[in-house]
Symmetry: C2
Subunit: 578 residues, 2 copies
Amino acid sequence: MRASKYLVPTEKENPSDAVVASHRLMIRAGLVRKSGSGFYFFLPLGLRILKKIENIVREEMDATGALEFELPIMTPSEFWEQSGRWSVMGPEMMRVKDRHDQWYALGPTHEESFSYLVKPLLKSYKDLPINVYQIHTKFRDEIRPRFGVIRSREFIMKDAYSYHLDEASLDATYQDMRTAYRKIFQRCGLKTIPVQADSGTMGGSASEEFMVVSPIGEETLLLCGDCGYNSNSEKTPFIAKAEDSPNGPKDKKEVATPGKKSIEDVAAFLNVRPQDTIKAVAFQNGKEKLLVFLRGDLELNEHKLKSYLKWSDLDMIPEPELKNSNLVPGFIGPSDVGEGFKVILDSSIQKDFAYVVGGGKEDFHIQGYVPSSEIKIQYETADVALAREGDPCPTCAKTLKAEKGIEVGHIFKLGDKYTKSFQIQVLDQQGKAKTLTMGCYGIGVNRTMATVIEQCNDDKGIYWPISIAPFEIGLVTLTKGEEQDAKALEFYENLKNEGFEVFWDERDLGPGFKFKDSELIGFPIRITVGKKFFESGEISIYNRKLDKDETFKFIDFDDLNTRVENLRQELYQELLGD
Amino acid sequence: MRASKYLVPTEKENPSDAVVASHRLMIRAGLVRKSGSGFYFFLPLGLRILKKIENIVREEMDATGALEFELPIMTPSEFWEQSGRWSVMGPEMMRVKDRHDQWYALGPTHEESFSYLVKPLLKSYKDLPINVYQIHTKFRDEIRPRFGVIRSREFIMKDAYSYHLDEASLDATYQDMRTAYRKIFQRCGLKTIPVQADSGTMGGSASEEFMVVSPIGEETLLLCGDCGYNSNSEKTPFIAKAEDSPNGPKDKKEVATPGKKSIEDVAAFLNVRPQDTIKAVAFQNGKEKLLVFLRGDLELNEHKLKSYLKWSDLDMIPEPELKNSNLVPGFIGPSDVGEGFKVILDSSIQKDFAYVVGGGKEDFHIQGYVPSSEIKIQYETADVALAREGDPCPTCAKTLKAEKGIEVGHIFKLGDKYTKSFQIQVLDQQGKAKTLTMGCYGIGVNRTMATVIEQCNDDKGIYWPISIAPFEIGLVTLTKGEEQDAKALEFYENLKNEGFEVFWDERDLGPGFKFKDSELIGFPIRITVGKKFFESGEISIYNRKLDKDETFKFIDFDDLNTRVENLRQELYQELLGD
């Protein structure tokens, strides 16, 4: 490709609304332009990268035997009503009414559509397992679109759905997908960590997210450097440290704590540690009311709580409403629960130890409260506390480290939620109708592109992994006069005919400008044929990632092609070796 | 690909809602399934065809130097307001409101988006011309979706937009697109006719549609077999035949025509031909009122009328309203026009000849009415009559023939409508700011797929042009026992390794079933390795289009591969030779 016939709208200045590297560089390198909040135009250079990522995803999905489809973006409301999600999906799901007043969703995900589609196609166990996917546009009306294409409202996803007769078959495909995802991201030059994730309220039995560690990540990951246990903090079980066992006063008595509502204030006032106390949090969900008690120093993990309860919503109960239930905010204790409340004790609470708890009335707490002997009401015990950096690893008890992460992929055992609501059954080997079980597997294509930039940039711009670079080679020629122009063309034709993907910058611009553009855009290999070549036959091959120039005397095209091919191979090898 | 690992949901029965061949066969061959009215799931076999068509379109567009983009489907209402089309586009444009109450259209076309995008990218005449395109999903809320993917509500289009400093440059790109479209459809094995088309109310100066002649077409084409003039009847100039010059009574007088309102009744009653009369049609458009007079035997062409007037709407004036304007329906004459009416005389009216016209009052006409001397009011003359089969060709005066056509592509000189509203200007060679001129070029990808089937089907099913067949070769093997299975696998591996695209039907089904499936789906080449091979070494190569089997003694794979490659080449050659 010749630069003069292409569109290279590079920018010197950072766009004012771009706060992360990938967003800044995608705009500056002329890969995308903004159409509106959360919407991006893909320009030719950017689209090439996107399509290369799509192709890698497609190749690896096909290699596992998955079958590619393309489903309508517009999904009828009936599909969503059948699964019960029309009312659950909330304002993130964009909805549109047609001229006959029929409602549709602009598919943010396609469990319903694929289930509707495959139901009549699956007739017997012989048709199983099946893994169906598409690479297509999705919509999500983010309340705060940001970070460029990392959190946009219209984006490309690969979404796959597998159907199985039994759990063993689901697990086999789940493991295949796990392997395929590792290959996909590796081939894209993206370092990811699979972490255990919340399987949410859908009743799934396993779920892993492929995370890119990044300071701009919106997820908190807890990683164990020792045993390799990694999880999203939404999911991490909380393991208490021995030194956090309560060691406050053991004699039970009511103590006045005037005006001391927060755990910090109470602990300081009574001269105990926060972990010697128990605090209460109150929630509601439509009709149900809930009180959760957990160790005073811990935070509640709403994801784990929702998963445990199988609630999709969780709203704090406002103070006035608590008072209506005879509960005194700041002073609620486990012996103090009115009618109609479900009660959960977080498993961080050691029931045979003495704690400081709310006194059940204004300005009083109780010390020396031993839950096992004192709690008279019905309660359930569950792990609903948020694990933190420094907590013990749930697998090996070594110390967890926290990182921020961006999710680029997600694999999920869905169970029978959709196969039940769409009544997807086949006859098994014994001729008995059996409801299938299901998995789903997503990859954010645009987000993969952006996170590669987050990992592969320096102060000059982007250095693309060769597998997804818009072009493998940037050829910069600097010529004066027809004779030199002709020689430059010879270089271009030679490289092109040799099968290299070449972006030839033959524009009538100064060397500084052309070098800067090529480094900003990030072609992995740059070949310069400039003044030195015409003076003394010297040309250079530049490795963008290493920012390293190799200068040598031009012998002939064979020699040049061998050098370029060697570097090209080396760069592909690097990806696999990582 | 192995059939047993694929999805081949062929159907024996025709779907009840499918009235055209392509719709029936796409469902029966398992290429698509219906999701809802006007929405289709693309299954793996169907998607392969769609992607092959997309690739042909992409290759030919790229070969012209056009640059591929991908734009958001959601286009902000502001873009449409800037061009004035938000209120004009009507209910076919689907609209959606986001959580911040901002309106978007699901892009049915992208003149606005591309214009918004390219405006800041085009800085000088050196950046021109530029031709930008995408291959992406479009939405159109058809009032009556039908014929499967031929008229659906969500579909893939290639839409291109070119920007130019002057008309000569636009014309060059327009001609390039014309050539590229011919190549694209030829490579897809689709016979198309470019016809002159209505350039609508957008002020464009030229427009051609690429039409597939088909009895199910919704457009009427008028074709001249002599000079090659082809046009959509929406656009065809009407040329009067000499024998249709009026030859009714020449003495002017009022004649009673009690109850004779229709042209047929009046003509019969007065013993003249319909072409000896003049009729009136009344329209309105918001505020303006219009009376059109044309020869009694002709139909009004509303497209030509709207084009002439540059009106986007045209509503008949109801009879009661006509009466309010002192016009008597059925008896309106050219001397009888009240205040506030614009008047058009169709150019079919020979103004120096005597006609029968409305008398201006109930139950009366005037005969011997010579427009040139009688009409006192202001009027304009314009060609607004519908040309018909049998009329003279506007180019060579030979006779026009009518055909029905389906539009698969459209090229259009848009002029400066969008470049003006988006103020797209660059500095020309003299440093003067100049507003650009624009072209647009569309291809319906799904519709191309369906119309190929309309042209390439017989009572067995589809016969795909090899260029877009889901697989080039269907290998049918019929085996018993492990040894024969192993031999079959050898055939498959050989063909695959030779680089052929093979669909191997190794399913445990009878030969009849497997042959029928392969003929229904329409692989261009079928190779059968069956009973006869295992008995006497005989195999067959079947040419699906010719429905012709060639049986021969198997010698070795080299011989087989040569035979297959020869047929494959022949089938590709056929496309180019057409």
